[in-house]
Point group: D2
Chain length 277, copies 4
């Protein structure tokens, strides 16, 4: 079992060599997330160095590809923002509840740990504390993973950095198909939660934590989902909260390893989250 945790763009140049090691591979970078070479080139602005390998990889989000992952040799990692977005959309797409001819807008708020271990002038505490800083209005590369995996053509991810270290909240705005009611949404979300050990539905009437929120997920591999339907206009707000340092990439990678090895999917990922932080 080989985990590749390199900067983006390296694995595609060495994948032949890694594969000769005769082992299963999980690549945490973005090299093999997209299935189509032209689509890759569009979003990453360069030709893929090993396009023949793209079809050999399975996109490593168990909630989308559990069965395939269990039988696969090569797994791509997943983008943290893509994961929050895909899981926010999953119940809606799976149950065919939204009108995919209308735009889907996903607003994503993220903590500073998304920025990685190397700093720059914008990541210094004095400049990064107390921010509400939109660093990508649309066009973020993780968008490609949402288009590919959810089959939505008109989707935008807007990325805003806020003042916390760990955590992502993706809020997806979509148009319900005619006739869709709150009970349909409940059914769809519950179904996804029932099939996936790390998905929970958070939708409370009272208390501080009524909707998904990363604050209670620090250190955990859970993806908390929630939703609201404005019945006056069919506007659906679907939320997904994760700890980007867990479910965002590395937690999902461990989950994939567990599936590939035939182990319990939750092995090593049982931590419930630390609260308060």
């Amino acid at each position: 079992m080989l985990f590749l945790a390199q900067p983006h763009g390296q694995a595609q140049h060495n994948i032949e060599q890694y594969a000769k090691l005769g082992t299963k591979i999980v690549d945490l970078a973005a090299d093999f997330r997209l299935r189509d070479a032209a689509f890759y080139e569009k979003w990453y602005g360069e030709k893929h160095a090993a396009p023949e390998w793209l079809s050999k990889f399975v996109y490593g989000l168990p909630e989308l590809h559990r069965a395939e992952i269990a039988g696969a040799s090569y797994i791509s990692g997943v983008g943290c923002n893509a994961t929050a977005s895909n899981l926010a959309l999953l119940p809606l797409v799976k149950a065919d509840l939204i009108d995919l001819t209308s735009p889907v807008i996903i607003e994503i708020k993220v903590g500073s740990s998304e920025g990685g271990a190397e700093g720059n002038s914008g990541s210094m505490h004095s400049e990064r504390a107390n921010v509400i800083r939109t660093f990508s209005a649309f066009g973020h590369r993780h968008t490609a993973e949402v288009i590919q995996e959810m089959g939505v053509k008109d989707v935008s991810l807007t990325m805003t950095a806020v003042d916390l270290v760990r955590g992502v909240l993706a809020t997806a705005h979509a148009k319900a198909k005619p006739g869709v009611a709150t009970k349909d949404l409940w059914k769809a979300y519950r179904a996804v939660a029932n099939e996936n050990p790390f998905v929970r539905v958070v939708k409370e009437q009272r208390g501080i934590y009524r909707v998904p929120e990363p604050k209670i997920l620090a250190g955990s591999n859970y993806a908390d989902l929630g939703f609201e339907l404005d019945e006056s206009n069919g506007h659906i707000v679907s939320m997904c909260a994760i700890d980007n340092l867990m479910k965002g990439a590395s937690g999902s990678a461990v989950q994939c390893m567990n599936l590939m090895m035939g182990w319990d999917e939750t092995l090593g990922l049982e931590f419930a989250g630390l609260h308060p932080i």
Copy 2:
């Protein structure tokens, strides 16, 4: 000159009495923000106590009603989230650039000072620090001010609390009318900035502060506007950042006073903002 800074719902019961004082009034609560009694009842869930007074008030956002304010006796305050939303939409609506038959989605991120001076269990530091907490998916009362002032029928405000004290960022997502190009947006935003001393356009190619961000507005009365147009699908992202303790309500109220008294509109509001905080 009388400033009413009472909890919502009190001024409408005493307005006759206040008016007898024979002075100009700025009411900072929400009592007189809406022009229509039925519309008020719909959003506030109760009959208005002085509906005949609604038409006597001018909505106190100088960027929308400067001339009227200058000649008015009664001015309503403005909601901080409504202000950020209205100013994010103003250039688009004024220049007629967006398709108002499509939904307008406004995502608003806010600091803790919006919560007022009285705390609750959710406002305690240990529960309020490090949050990305969506407290209203839609239906926030400030929405009514956006509908009234911008003439948009299908608009949603989604409110998310993040970890800072002062600051609001409203991000409006709207559909451009066919043929609208980036240069049209530039023209519209510049026009609004040119006409209003506290509106600036922030749209930089490099540096940390390329788009509107409340971090650099602490203590100032500026509303910073920015925008992006996705020419592939006509998706416009329009941002407005303010310090909610200034331009959000009290700063605009002082600005109104200046206009009503015939003083320089910027009097007492020149502070440029403190950075870094």
Copy 3:
């Protein structure tokens, strides 16, 4: 096994009744921390309601009373600030390295979770964020636990709230006895770490985390100790970092339970801490 987690002052009125339940008791409040009724009265400003019970309790810090705790029926909880202070002093006192005729000054910086679950105006996020707020220059009640347990007569605890949720850093300033050298301190600190599963010495030459710091202890039961000796004047700076929601009180209580029940002392307390938060 009964854990009493009541507000201070209640257990002393009901201890007879609780004891009749015939079980071992760990009281997490301050009712039975002090051994002497007059000393209690001095620090708590009221007569103790069950003074005859004071001698039946063992002070529940395993690093000080492991053997007694293992054989005891009644264990008091420990103050979080007292724990950080006592552990900062422990190697120095145990190895007899400091001059106890000189004042010992302990500066303690604490997070907001020390304030408990009920808020007040000072604990609201808008007033509690970005603080460096000294709420007790001296005279904090936890001081009594340091005097009692460490045998220091002239000791002051200065308490300052800073902006984080979990964590305490106690910095003790003391005078070395003549002839004490850095190697003596190393020996004393290592000895304490060797004897105690939750005590570590943190003293690095490079890297970000060279001295004890709560940031890396979130969720863990470790007490990290570090020190510096100014050989020019015999000034010792001894630091202890803990997560107050773990080792501060509840973690130590679980540790006591483990000892009382004959279980592995570290049972249920193995979490290494979450980083970064």
Copy 4:
């Protein structure tokens, strides 16, 4: 009027050249803060490049040298931590209230803006948020300025970084001379406040802000002083809070300029501070 705002160590190599410009100079670096070349070498670890210039400079803290500054041509800047320490000690030293044969211990908590505009791995938000990080137990270079200006021989500064951007709180622990009472301290602090436009005494019985705290000083040039005397043992705790980006260095430099030019000392420095942040 020339302000030198260079990295430390440059001005001493070029001072002859700067002086030929025939103007008054304020050097914000540490090059000319110390009066004695040997003392400089001890604290800075290198010979001074222009030792004959040391005596020509006046230490630029108006609260200590107002009259000299008014008549001087060359003014050194001041260290932010030295300033908070010197002002915390000033009333005590000036009124001769503390025993200078006993050690003076100063605990200083600082925000991230002290780290300057260039970041490193420790200043990244993900590593710098939520810290209580002691980066100097003793031996910080600013100590030299406290020794020189206050005449204390046995003084230690312990530096701890906490999670805010702007602000310093210095807490000085000293031994009162026999017979010193609280009223003597009041008198000494009031005298210093009366003589200095930017010094205030903060010592309240109730409310959130009872002692000096940087939270209310953001953007202001005030130094807030407070104190407590433990009459049982003569332990004095003296606090000084400043905004390090104002009174810490640049604010004091402007204050010096005002004095040197014969202008009102408070010119351009009247901002009262922004609250809450």
